[in-house]
């Protein structure tokens, strides 16, 4: 299997979609999944718990320098940017917001693209600003696979449309198709 890591970005209107994807992935789905979702800066708790309810995989908000393990979902913590170091661990930062966002999807996607190159799948979901478009471009330029949720299906289409205009997208999928794609990947 050529792909080893999945990164998912989303903002307004993406929570339900993320929950659907996580609940569809089987417990022995081995690829680490990174989630960079826009969220309230000052609300530290509750998000992991909400995502965990239906997930078969363990969802964590990593500490800085936490090693990346298989069978785990890593959610970017509130008010930190999430980067990926070449030693296969996560690095957090309190640098200023990017695209009014911390965590910024551009930062996480660009960093993952740099670290994982063609082993990465980048998935962009519903959202209300253009954060993530540059990141998706980086995923593509580093040889990764780009998937965007069909803007017609998104509650807010700004983010997916911006990604589509920023770079060549490999697949524009409905949520169900994203899920099927990931499950097929796992079967192979």
């Amino acid at each position: 299997m050529p792909y080893k890591y999945i990164i998912i970005g989303g903002s307004a209107g993406s929570f339900q979609t993320v929950t659907n994807i996580l609940s569809a992935l089987p417990a022995d789905f081995s690829m680490p999944v990174f989630l960079c979702l826009h969220r309230l800066k000052h609300v530290r708790s509750g998000f992991v718990e909400a995502l965990s309810i239906k997930s078969n995989l363990k969802v964590v908000e990593p500490n800085d320098k936490e090693f990346i393990r298989q069978h785990k979902v890593y959610l970017a913590p509130a008010n930190y940017h999430m980067y990926f170091e070449l030693g296969n661990y996560i690095a957090l930062s309190t640098e200023p917001s990017v695209n009014h966002s911390r965590p910024s999807i551009d930062i996480s996607f660009a960093s993952a693209a740099y670290a994982y190159k063609s082993k990465l799948i980048g998935i962009m979901l519903s959202g209300a600003n253009k954060d993530g478009a540059y990141g998706m471009k980086q995923v593509k330029e580093n040889g990764g696979l780009t998937i965007v949720q069909d803007p017609d299906e998104c509650q807010v289409r700004t983010m997916t449309s911006a990604a589509i205009s920023a770079t060549k997208i490999d697949h524009v999928f409905k949520v169900e198709e994203i899920i099927t794609f990931l499950k097929d990947l796992y079967k192979k």
Partner: protein, 278 residues
């Protein structure tokens, strides 16, 4: 006009850059956390229209002023006061209040790039009426930071978030009571900094043994690699009095054996630790 493309640096680019800086200016960046530092260097190059690493290296070697700007650009400032309000509540209740009847107390904020953590602390000390007996030492690595921290001026734009954080720290309390409001910025009341000494000093080269009762070191080690992080913790430990307290960022872990032997967890969620008495 052709849009300038952001240069993406490779690991070998960064290695040559760090080597050159080390030989020219004796500063060592090789143990910083690479992923975020790489982005800040790329942003710096972009803002100065530099296209490749050789251009950056050549210009830095020739131009000391540019190197100063480079240092300013790659440091990370704290962006808000009362970040993690729950931390400040616990730091007040579980740490500062323990020193209520102490004669004097010494607090250190090392590697301080901007003053937000300091101003938050000073307001709490004022609330506890502990300013006079507390000496606060702030160290930073550039003259520019010393000036910025002493100036204690915050943009109105940033104040909104600070005010919201402060209200979460203490409902109904007004942060603006501690500031003089100017047309485009807020100025911290000067008397709040009477007990503060800001100095240019490097954590990794200047040693102070067993001097401080409390050390605030939040979100600093994020920018170090594991090796430098351990080195920083070792130095902080040396500077802390037995029985003293240290706080690190809420997403920074210190769970290695030597630390667990020497420190008691005061708050796991807020990362507050107490050094055991010798």
């Amino acid at each position: 006009m052709l849009a300038l493309k952001k240069t993406i640096l490779g690991i070998s680019d960064l290695k040559s850059l760090f080597q050159s800086i080390k030989s020219f200016y004796s500063d060592d960046y090789s143990n910083y956390a690479i992923s975020s530092l790489k982005r800040r260097i790329e942003e710096f190059m972009f803002s100065f229209h530099m296209l490749n690493i050789d251009e950056l290296i050549n210009k830095l070697e020739k131009d000391k002023t540019l190197y100063q700007l480079f240092i300013d650009a790659i440091q990370v400032e704290t962006t808000e006061m009362f970040r993690d309000p729950e931390f400040w509540v616990q730091f007040r209740d579980l740490v500062l209040k323990k020193y209520r009847y102490a004669k004097e107390i010494k607090v250190w904020i090392p590697d301080c790039n901007s003053g937000e953590e300091l101003y938050s602390l000073q307001i709490i000390l004022h609330q506890l009426k502990m300013n006079e007996k507390t000496s606060v030492y702030v160290s930073t690595i550039t003259d520019k930071n010393v000036e910025t921290i002493k100036k204690a001026t915050i943009d109105h734009k940033k104040m909104e978030l600070n005010i919201a954080n402060f209200d979460r720290y203490e409902e109904g309390a007004k942060l603006t009571d501690y500031f003089i409001l100017k047309s485009n910025a807020a100025l911290l009341n000067a008397e709040l900094l009477d007990n503060v000494k800001v100095e240019k000093r490097n954590l990794f080269t200047d040693e102070h043994q067993g001097v401080y009762d409390c050390i605030l070191y939040r979100n600093k080690m994020l920018y170090y690699n594991p090796q430098l992080k351990n080195e920083a913790l070792k130095r902080l430990n040396t500077s802390l009095k037995p029985g003293g307290y240290i706080a690190v960022g809420i997403k920074e872990s210190v769970d290695f054996p030597s630390w667990e032997r020497e420190f008691i967890v005061i708050s796991e969620s807020e990362r507050i630790y107490k050094k055991v008495l010798a």
